[in-house]
Symmetry: C2
Subunit: 305 residues, 2 copies
């Protein structure tokens, strides 16, 4: 089956989450190895949870270009591995020092700190290994385009740079100088936006789409990435820990600049809605084929966790 | 200039170290960025030191196949970035907890722990970004072959897996069960051997060499990688901290299994010599063109630091 045929979006998300779980299970290194503990930690970090938004972006984007599901699932798994690595490292005591993630102990709590550092390291490597493998696409030019795009999104100029800016922002907040809207926007576009944009574009790369279609999907991702972060701040303000599976109110309590803090709750909600509308409008040229991406744009601001 | 024309090996090493330093300087992200501290830590970790053995392996290997120096320098820089990332993470308090590296404070000492984790993360990404860039080779198939080989060498089945086995070995040593020769050999082949093998093979990949030549270079690297580690253990036993630029006698004091501990000093020296001789014999088919690789095999067991 090569289209997301579920009758409703929640079912589509479950379908994709189940498929990418199976794919990750297959791709991650086995426990039958002298480094079994490392491999177990990699599996713990990647399996058994998460909304799999990045996987869904890859797969729904790839479906627009009739990419065989076997290929899009591999790219989706790579995006989820990269995301999982970033969470494992962000949760470390020297970073955000979180004990809970998706309702379970974080990797350094379930294992130990050294294993958490190494599991994150190896998950990053594995993401590149999966993209570089001929099973992802027979054409080397497509595989290297994916690899280059993932590296751009996730390095010092992308995700890791965003996390570094976030850490510096905490120190500024502690000194009474929280970030401005434009600064927090830049932080978000790198820390979470870059990998979301990669995920949205990956299917188009796999499908040999032209630069114009790729740019549309990147712009769509730019909108939903920011909407997602604003919604996160709203959930952090309004949500409860049981639904989120992590601590709430932490950012505000730390004096960190949040979109809610900068805009107020009402304006933050309006901004998130406007971004979702913009994201949906960008997809017009794809017609009904982009139905799942349309619903995904709605989901990022209506989700409860 | 596309051959290592220096009159003696020490001058060749200096020449390559200077060239790769310039290349790294050019490739690493600039300080003119909101993530300036991260980028500064990446530069601190990569620049200004090290024997650059991996870079020399890449370049001397590439010279066998008349690879333009601009290309081999990029692959050499990628190997050095990957190596630098591994050192930054291995030095962390939760891993080997080292304060000194190449005679300077380690990255988490010179900056902070969070920055050290992120700098290592971003250096890994950057290594893949460099290999994936068309400037490394115009043929996508060559670039993806390099990328895949680096991922294989450095992930859970390679370098990171080796470090995980090393951490487990320390716990076993503390419990009075140090590793056997075969176990420490496996550990070494993954922890340091895999990236050394990548470095030796990278030039052949860049030069479009056949599988036979690639296998010869991998086998050569297998010999010198093990010889290098045995020599390290000998230096750790006999050396002094000033020449090494790091603490000595630490492994033995920690009860860790070392080649010297397992074989005794005399047999360890004989084993290292035999491996160097084997490595040199493997290169016979390349004739005098492999002079630098011959000298490098000699260097790994005669070096003082």
């Amino acid at each position: 089956m090569n289209s997301l045929a579920s009758p409703d979006f929640a079912a589509t998300m479950r379908e994709v989450a189940a498929a990418v779980e199976t794919e990750l299970e297959r791709l991650l290194p086995s426990l039958d190895d002298p480094a079994a503990k490392l491999n177990e930690a990699m599996r713990y970090a990647c399996l058994g949870g998460g909304k799999r938004l990045r996987a869904l972006l890859v797969i729904a984007g790839a479906d627009l270009f009739q990419v065989p599901r076997g290929r899009s699932l591999r790219a989706a798994a790579a995006a989820e591995m990269l995301h999982a690595y970033s969470l494992v490292h962000d949760d470390l005591p020297c970073m955000d020092d979180d004990d809970l993630r998706r309702g379970r102990p974080t990797v350094h709590k379930a294992f130990d700190e050294a294993t958490a550092v190494l599991a994150g390291d190896a998950l990053q490597t594995e993401a590149f290994a999966v993209l570089a493998d001929p099973q992802t696409h027979p054409d080397a030019a497509v595989r290297i385009a994916l690899t280059a795009a993932l590296a751009r999104a996730s390095g010092a100029r992308g995700m890791v740079g965003g996390q570094a800016i976030d850490l510096a922002a905490e120190q500024r907040a502690a000194a009474g100088q929280p970030l401005s809207f434009d600064e927090i926007r830049l932080l978000q576009s790198r820390k979470t936006g870059a990998l979301i944009a990669f995920s949205a574009e990956a299917g188009a790369i796999l499908g040999g789409a032209g630069q114009e279609a790729r740019a549309v999907l990147r712009d769509y991702a730019g909108d939903i990435g920011l909407a997602f972060q604003i919604a996160d701040d709203i959930l952090d303000e309004e949500g409860n820990a049981a639904e989120l599976g992590k601590a709430v109110g932490k950012d505000a309590a730390a004096g960190k600049a949040t979109f809610v803090g900068l805009l107020g709750l009402a304006e933050a909600k309006a901004k998130a809605r406007a971004l979702t509308n913009s994201a949906k409008a960008r997809l017009a040229g794809f017609g009904p084929a982009a139905g799942v991406l349309q619903e995904l744009a709605e989901f990022v601001i209506t989700r409860r966790s």
